[in-house]
């Protein structure tokens, strides 16, 4: 599982990683599927801005989860870009929150080699845990931006 991987660990060729690909603007984030709580329509978004940096909330079984929206450089924005149609609730150790995305696609990757963020790039601000190469739909090699709900939560907390 990607959630248990160690840095630069090459998984066995037949070892599957169940990943959700969250796309928005030109960014595609890869998150372990087991960290996805639910995928809601943008119409579930309730207007509730406040001081927490969130753009609104969604109601999950009586609990209001803050919904955050990223720009194409992953800054937190307080407006709703036109390309966001889905609201992804993610689960982490300190509570749940949601992100607005253009699309969420579940994929299965095998034999992945997750690389650490290169040292020269690692300024402690990047909202990613690893990078990887994977095959896109058209068979092309793509760069995967790997992250986790916990890591994103810490990133958002730092930003707001």
């Amino acid at each position: 599982m990607i959630g248990e991987m160690t840095s630069n660990r090459l998984l066995a060729p037949d070892e599957a990683c169940y990943i959700s690909k969250l796309s928005f603007s030109d960014i595609e984030l890869l998150i372990p599927q087991n960290e996805i709580l639910s995928i809601e329509s943008i119409y579930e978004l309730e207007d509730d801005t406040g001081k927490g940096g969130h753009i609104g909330v969604i109601n999950k079984q009586g609990v209001k989860l803050p919904v955050y929206c990223f720009s194409d450089s992953m800054d937190i924005v307080d407006y709703l870009p036109e390309d966001r149609f889905q609201c992804v609730a993610v689960r982490h150790n300190q509570g749940d929150f949601a992100l607005l995305c253009h699309e969420v696609v579940n994929i299965v990757l095998k034999g992945m080699d997750f690389k650490d963020i290169p040292g020269c790039m690692d300024n402690g601000l990047i909202p990613l845990t690893h990078l990887c190469l994977y095959q896109g739909d058209a068979g092309q090699t793509k760069l995967g931006l790997v992250t986790h709900a916990d890591f994103l939560y810490k990133y958002i907390s730092r930003k707001i």
């Binding site: 450089s73 290169p118 040292g119 790039m121 601000l125 990047i126 990078l131 760069l143």
Partner: protein, 154 residues
């Protein structure tokens, strides 16, 4: 002809119209012309891009941006693929943005010179420097330091 009289082979990397740096002959692996950059969100300005080369994830360094601390133009240009030793003694690849393709030069010991004040910042990433035939002070950069977290993000 001995090495001293002939000089040691090195690559001169033109970072912009004014600044050249040098690396060892065997540190340059490949040259990529007009590569396709992939930006990493929130990465530092001097190293915000990745290129995919031979199934490797290669971070690309803009040393002009690092030197000036400013945002530089994103002209595609040329990327020199260099090889260096990682923390686990493994070989890793990095890219350096250039204005023009690298030029091979010979450097002799007698060309070694003192640092000038304007090049002070290069000391962090360099082994030494030499004076070119045109009288320019050229830092000889340490590739491992360029691509390590502690040196470049100071």
């Amino acid at each position: 002809m001995d090495t001293e009289s002939a000089g040691v082979a090195a690559w001169l990397l033109q970072l912009d119209r004014l600044v050249n740096v040098a690396i060892g002959q065997f540190e340059l692996t490949h040259i990529v012309d007009q590569p396709e950059y992939i930006s990493i969100p929130q990465a530092p300005e001097h190293c915000k891009d990745i290129i995919l080369w031979n199934d490797n994830i290669v971070p690309v360094m803009n040393l002009t941006s690092w030197m000036s601390g400013d945002k530089q133009s994103d002209a595609p240009g040329v990327v020199a693929i260099v090889v260096y030793t990682g923390a686990q003694n493994n070989y890793l690849y990095g890219g350096i943005k250039l204005n023009n393709p690298p030029v091979q030069v010979k450097v002799k010991n007698i060309q070694q010179c003192q640092w000038t004040k304007s090049l002070d910042k290069w000391k962090i990433l360099s082994i030494s420097c030499f004076k070119s035939q045109e009288g320019e002070v050229v830092p000889i950069i340490d590739i491992t330091k360029v691509f390590s977290q502690k040196s470049i993000n100071k």
